[in-house]
Symmetry: D2
Subunit: 220 residues, 4 copies
């Protein structure tokens, strides 16, 4: 095949060995979906079901962490799946996730069949050289989750229970601290933020369990 | 957010300006699906429907070319979608394609509902600096289509009409030229390969039409 | 050698085929050298001699273009030197250039022996997909040469012949057009910029000549 | 400047944060130089002097390791020199090294003035995520040094003292272990390899010393 020379234009995108690989995917234009506010259990359930599908099909993944319309998947630093080719890793995760998301949608949202444009996700791979960096990555996403959720919970309380419109609620929250928001929730609406479901405040975690049965204890 | 420094670990993957960008996706493990042999009009129809979904949602795409379980999408060399970030381009195409593929599956295969693992695709981006390279890329895929289809057509004729098993059919074809295969088809099975549907022999093409209405003619 | 696994951490940096490769090098901290103003023939001569050394040792180079403390070297788009590995191409050119620059310095500046820190250069590789891009690259550097040289010529005339200090001269030139600068040079100092040596106004070019002797004319 | 768009073709080559960066340079075609065999103190001295120049000019370097015609330079994992741009780091080191090598040549080899082609070096950058990887990298180079030096010492003893030619000496050494070579050196030539200078057996190391004066001891 005289045209096969074009294959040489494919460039290597092999990720550095001995680094933790995080693939983060994020829903494209998910603001437009009519999810319940501030949290939609059906949406969270669907994200988690899709992520479980990914973890099941890709045994090299060790952690999944999800919040809002995003999910982060962690490959172990010793992982050699697809020779660590970035495009293979990202596209495969995005594709499996999307397949489950679309397939399981009707079970989570029986009353709203999907219409075009269908839900889809982008994805990227990031390398983290140390466990500390990896932990900080997960902390970054989780702190983001916490900040957004406290904001959203208060914002939607002001609207849904306080009768404000979005502009007014945003003004009300401008410049407020976390303590202020807790106070607004409690004093005006009798909501104790601490009692809100953990999954809203902290996001969802999927861990691959490794069980050592009958081994001698000296593992490194 | 003290953890935000981890964002700095995301590396740039911006593709070179003024190059044609081809994103080729390919079904993962599609051999295991029970498609009709040598060609399955339902499978081809589904691939094409998904590709149309991609072309509709991403207006920057100018060409789509599909054969077997793969599809190539061409971004114009001047395209600036996602600032030409490779991971965004590949994952978005793979995700949209997968969403349509899963969503439209029941319409194409009403008698075989999807089961896990769901169909999914990998993807990659390749740059081509010249129109000649781009054309050669498409020729490469199309010549591949032709070679595989002639082989498969003959192979399955030997099995389905000739009563051979797969091992025997493979032996029979070993070392045969294109002319030999045409001859086998014609003399043994009365099949004229030239009369086979074009879509089997050449694959599927989607072009974005640009219409110039009422413009003065001096375009460059 | 049990440690050899570390070799796997070397990542591919192969440049895209069929693109023009420009390696531009630039003197590090050259402002501190006491070159004659606005142009120093000895400095220009040394840069050109070093560049000739590079062109002689690397036969794959087709063009060299120099101005000020920088030089651009162009590899043909079909070049396969070092398998087009970026680091090999850049470091080799920088190293050869530096070697000649240091070695030939005494011949060009007999009265000022080199002292530490010695002159050195950085370098980078850039790909250009089309001849048009390549030509525009060279035009970019040459227009830069022209603008800087007109500015410097006028700036130093104001100082050397006009008796201004640097601050005053800079003020005088602020906001002036090219025509204004030509006018200043001519009316105040009797200098006709057009008569200045071409090498100051346009930079230096090295071309590799290809001679076809006794060939039949049908070349493509 | 209408041509400035060509700047956008420069692609990012920023190295991953929090990784040790090793720049290894290697003499181009150094076999052709007539260095004394098996080791040339003048050549080693010149390499080390050039490396010291590099370490002096680039304060971000923490380790230098040299053997034969190569030198490895280590940037601390927190280094931000040139924003960690690979091409800047490699070309700058190669250029400074080359400048010193050429400049100091006459002092080391007074009887053999340099002639063209001048000595030059290539270079590359490699990232190592962990201290363990970095140590293994240095061990890799040092074990290489040891193996090559034992071989070369024995090879040249067979020639210089044993009167063999190169082909014969190579045959003699084929398949021999380290112990065999030690034995050949001792029994035939009365050479105790252990008594050879450390610099031949282990290479040269340059460390940047960090002195803590009057600090409380709890550093991490
Ligand atoms: N999947 C899901 N999405 C939710 C849920 N609650 C809210 N969302 C929506 C509201 C958020 O604004 C949106 C995610 O924000 P992004 O910053 O990702 O924006 P969006 O996806 O619109 O744009 P993008 O394409 O990512 O740039 O997802 C939920 O429970 N599940
Ligand atoms: N979608 C589709 N696939 C077909 C059709 N006919 C056959 N196929 C199957 C049979 C081919 O062997 C297979 C594609 O071959 P590949 O080389 O892509 O292998 P496969 O997908 O099994 O493995 P991979 O994960 O891509 O390495 O697709 C059809 O009409 N439509
Ligand atoms: N080689 C050479 N250099 C000249 C000549 N005339 C002036 N120069 C100096 C003055 C310019 O400001 C300087 C080049 O400017 P750059 O922008 O490259 O700055 P510099 O090298 O100081 O800093 P850098 O390390 O490149 O960021 O070279 C000459 O004739 N030959
Ligand atoms: N600088 C230096 N070089 C030495 C010394 N002794 C021997 N050499 C030479 C002999 C070695 O074969 C040569 C280095 O071998 P390489 O594998 O780097 O080969 P070479 O530089 O010829 O080719 P290359 O351009 O690196 O692929 O350096 C010495 O004391 N100092
Ligand atoms: O998606 P993120 O969180 O990385 O952040 P963004 O602001 O959406 O930016 P981009 O998707 O363009 O990287
Ligand atoms: O998928 P292709 O056609 O590029 O070829 P392959 O043999 O499947 O190889 P890979 O998917 O690993 O690039
Ligand atoms: O050296 P240049 O001309 O590319 O431009 P710069 O402003 O010196 O920038 P850098 O050397 O950091 O790319
Ligand atoms: O120079 P090295 O040691 O990395 O090894 P090589 O065999 O010279 O290979 P190359 O210089 O081409 O990487
Ligand atoms: Mg985003
Ligand atoms: Mg989103
Ligand atoms: Mg989001
Ligand atoms: Mg494949
Ligand atoms: Mg496939
Ligand atoms: Mg295929
Ligand atoms: Mg610069
Ligand atoms: Mg400079
Ligand atoms: Mg300059
Ligand atoms: Mg080498
Ligand atoms: Mg060498
Ligand atoms: Mg060497």
């Amino acid at each position: 095949n005289v045209y096969e020379y074009v294959r040489a234009f494919e460039q290597s995108d092999v990720l550095l060995p001995n680094t933790w690989i995080v693939v983060r995917i994020d829903g494209r234009g998910f603001k437009k979906y009519g999810f319940r506010k501030p949290n939609d259990d059906r949406g969270i359930g669907l994200m988690n079901a899709a992520a479980q599908g990914v973890m099941r099909e890709l045994q090299d993944l060790v952690i999944g962490y999800g919040v809002s319309d995003e999910y982060s998947f962690v490959f172990h630093k010793d992982c050699t799946l697809f020779e660590r080719r970035a495009s293979k890793l990202t596209t495969t995760i995005v594709s499996i996730f999307t397949a489950y998301y679309v397939q399981l949608w009707p079970a989570c949202f029986p009353e709203t069949p999907l219409s075009m444009p269908l839900p889809s996700f982008d994805g990227r791979a990031v390398m983290y050289p140390s466990v500390r960096n990896l932990r900080d990555y997960l902390s970054w996403r989780q702190v983001d989750c916490h900040i957004n959720n406290l904001y959203n919970t208060t914002f939607w309380a002001l609207i849904q229970q306080g009768g404000m419109d979005a502009v007014k609620a945003e003004e009300e929250l401008m410049g407020t601290s976390a303590a202020d928001k807790n106070e607004i929730l409690f004093s005006r609406f009798g909501i104790n933020y601490n009692n809100k479901p953990e999954v809203y405040k902290k996001g969802s975690v999927i861990l691959r369990e490794v069980r050592y049965i009958g081994l001698s204890p000296q593992l490194d």
